[in-house]
Every structure is written in structure tokens, then in C-alpha cells.
Symmetry: C2
Subunit: 221 residues, 2 copies
DNA sequence: GTGCCTTTGTGAAATTGTGCACGAGCCGGG
DNA sequence: CCCGGCTCGTGCACAATTTCACAAAGGCAC
């Protein structure tokens, strides 16, 4: 079981670190380095060296003892594991501030996520374009998704519209959803949802910040 | 030690769920419900009921057996734990697409995070305003942070500028940083950093999406 | 007041994730 | 060919988190 490439069981925690390794390896490529040690990679990714080695070992043994990992080979391999050997066409729903920013944000297309379609419910916005991509009406989701072979949908609508849009996406054939709306959406089995709530992170910071100040006033003056 | 309110040790995992409970409780307030069971709250927050009870128990026992939790009381309590009884002035650095979207995004100020200042390194942008907040030059960070009593900084710059901005923020007195730049930043002890990488989430989706397709072609037709 | 129903609060078990420590394997030099 | 130094791969112990299961306790009907 151990060491078998493409084994079924890659820990979730490991998966969530793969993008970090990928990014670090890309930087190393830019610096034209051909090999990298787990220690260096760990430092770049902001984790611990043992963790890097353990994570990479789930995919088999690609390192060379005494030397390190081959940057190019590892890069290719992780990219393949992450399914980034081809581009992913995506649709963004909700062209408010957040949706527009996401559509404009270069960080997606850089990494293989092509904004193939944009939709909104507001007829006034339909027809305008963002970054050369026309905004369609949300009613056209079905057509867009099947015609452009879209599997990934991004929800950037207000909270109250999120569930409806999610339902439409699923009905249209989307199987993975990234939800930026601050609400829980429910989907059928087999549909994968990840959630990013920008304000949640600030609230977590706030928690620790408040604690620190409270603590400081106890221990401090 | 158990049940002591404000005990030192609230698990990180619990803290990261508090904002979800808070949001759910706000919805319940809007619906004018006065009590809620752990089961209902769990459903709204998208977690498991036992987890809700355990999470809440770290703050002491605020529920009534046979009845549930008092919505208003619990709301107030979590808000206090999260340090959201007052507003937090924040500064956003980097007024590109992402920074502008964050500044425009209503979801922050709704929850007590007031955009007090905006900075950018580009002189052309300095002087213009976003949502009524003027963009200052990044060199003025020091002055802004101390004058407006800012503790929280948001980095929305390109990756290559993030570390420099983080250093400046720390020097100016910021103690909590939310980093949207796709890079690891290092800060002195005592400074708290949280990281949101929009593309990372898509890559994680991509991983599972790819696996699913691979699996489907084995088990399916 | 008694009994029943409901829902909390919480030990304890199960699962998941982390970090250490060290054997194993590779490289370069003599 | 052998040796010393370096770095991977991994078993193991430990820590964190989740989940289960159930006793304890409030509320309501009668």
C-alpha cells in the first residue's frame, strides 16, 4: 500500500499543501535551480521539512538521497497530481465587486484556470464584457456549461442568491464549486464544494488580536 | 479548569468555526427565533451537532437542556469572544484589482472591519479615492497606522511586494496581517499572519475533480 | 410532585495530522 | 574500492480533532 503511486488515499492535509509546493517549485525553476532539498522547499512553502518529505512520499519516491528532489521532475509530477496539465475552463456567477475582481485577477489564468464565462442576474450587466469575456444572463448557464465543457463554477453572488445559483450550476453540469458567498450551500452527493469567506479570516485575526490585548493588559502595565 | 469562561485554551479549530456560528445566529435573530438547538445550529453552519456543543462548551455552559441555546445571549457572547464588540480599523495595501475589490466589498464593514486607510506604491493612484477612502502612499503607513490606531493590515499586493509591505506594516505597529498575496511572508514573533490564496482553493478542487474523472473512467464505461 | 420527552455537556474512543529520529542510499574524493 | 557527508524515506510516539454515546437536567402535562 505504501509508496504505490496514485494510491487512493492522499491525506486531505497533504492535498492542501500541494499548491504551496507547486508555487515554490515554480520559483525554483525561475531561479534555474535543478535540485532542491526538503529543507529548502519547506522553508519556501512555510512548513516543516519532515512534512514535506512525508507529503511527497505519498506519491512515491522521487527524491535522491544525498541530493534532494529534481525540481523539474517534481514540478511536473505535482502538476499532474493536481490535474493542472491542462487548463480548466471556469464560470463565475455574480458580477458585483467581488466577481469583477475575480474575473480581473490574473492569479487564476496564470495557474490554468481560464475564465470561460461570466453570468449575472442583472440584465443591465448582461452584454458588457470583463477582460474580454462577455457577461451572460444566468439563465444561459446550461448552454454555457455544456458548450464550453465547464466543470468548475465560482459563486461570487450575495449570500441570498448563492443557493439558487449553486442549484443551477449543478443542474447545468458543474461538479466542483468554489463558494465566496458567506453562506452554506447544499449540493447533491458527488458535487464538491469549497468555501472561502473573506470576512471569516478577519474575524479569526480579531479573536487572537483581542485575546492578545486582554492578555497584555493582565501581564503588562 | 473545565467550564471556566475565558480559559486560555480554545482550540484553533474551534476558533475558526466561531464566525460560522456567529453568522448563523445573526440569521436566526433576523427570523426572530429566541432559542436554537445544537442540531439546528449545526445544520445552518454546515457542521456536526456534537461539534457545536463541544465548541460552545469551551466558553462555559450557556445552553438549557431540553431547550437549546438562547440566540441573543449566545450571539452576544460569541461576538464578545471574537472581539467584535467594537469596530476594527484596517488598512489595505495594494490597490490593484484585488485591493480595490476588497475595499469595495461590503462584507467587511458589515462585520465590524472598517477600511480606515488604503495605500499603494504607485504615485498615480495616490490621491484618488475608493468608497470615499483616499489612497495614500505606502510611505505614509507609519503615520496612518499610529494616527488611526490600526492593528490589522491586509496585503493585496503582487507577490514580489508582499514581504516589503509586511515589514513596513509591522514597523508601523500592525500586529495582525491578512495576506492575499500568493507568497509566504515572514514576520517577527508576536505578529499574527493568516493567508488566503484564492488560486489554492481552485487547485484543490482541481485535484479532486481530476481524481474523480480518473476514477470514473475506471469504474464507469 | 411525578414521569416523560428533549437536548445539553462531556468522558472516552477513534481518527487524523505532526514531528522526531534514525536507517538506507547516493555522491564525491582519495 | 572505500569512506565520510549529506539527504531521503519512514516507523513511531505524540498531539489535535472529531465523533460517539450516554448520564444529567430542564420543561411540560397531568
Amino acid at each position: 500500500m505504501v509508496g504505490s503511486p496514485s494510491g487512493q488515499s492522499i491525506p486531505e492535509a497533504t492535498v492542501s499543501r500541494l499548491p504551496l509546493y507547486l508555487r515554490s517549485l515554480q520559483e525554483l525553476m525561475d531561479e534555474e535551480l535543478s535540485t532542491v532539498s526538503s529543507e529548502r522547499l519547506a522553508e519556501m512553502a512555510g512548513v516543516n521539512a519532515a512534512k514535506v518529505r512525508k507529503d511527497l512520499s505519498y506519491f512515491g519516491s522521487y527524491g535522491t538521497r544525498g541530493v534532494g528532489y529534481d525540481v523539474e521532475y517534481l514540478l511536473l509530477h505535482i502538476r499532474r497530481e493536481l490535474g493542472l496539465t491542462h487548463d480548466w475552463p471556469c464560470v463565475i456567477a455574480g458580477m458585483g465587486n467581488l466577481g469583477q475582481a475575480l474575473a480581473n485577477y490574473g492569479g487564476f489564468s496564470d495557474r490554468g484556470f481560464v475564465i470561460a464565462a461570466l453570468v449575472d442576474a442583472n440584465p443591465d450587466k448582461v452584454g458588457t464584457t470583463v477582460e474580454g469575456v462577455p457577461i451572460s444572463h444566468v439563465d444561459d448557464l446550461d448552454d454555457l456549461v455544456s458548450r464550453l465543457d465547464i466543470h468548475i463554477g465560482v459563486i461570487a453572488t450575495p449570500a441570498h442568491a448563492a443557493q439558487d445559483v449553486a442549484d443551477r450550476m449543478v443542474a447545468a453540469g458543474v461538479t466542483s464549486i468554489l463558494n465566496f458567498a458567506p453562506t452554506v450551500i447544499t449540493v447533491p452527493d458527488g458535487i464538491l464544494v469549497r468555501k472561502v469567506d473573506l470576512a471569516v479570516e478577519l474575524q479569526i485575526l480579531s479573536f487572537y488580536q483581542e485575546r492578545r490585548q486582554a492578555g497584555a493588559s493582565l501581564t503588562g502595565a
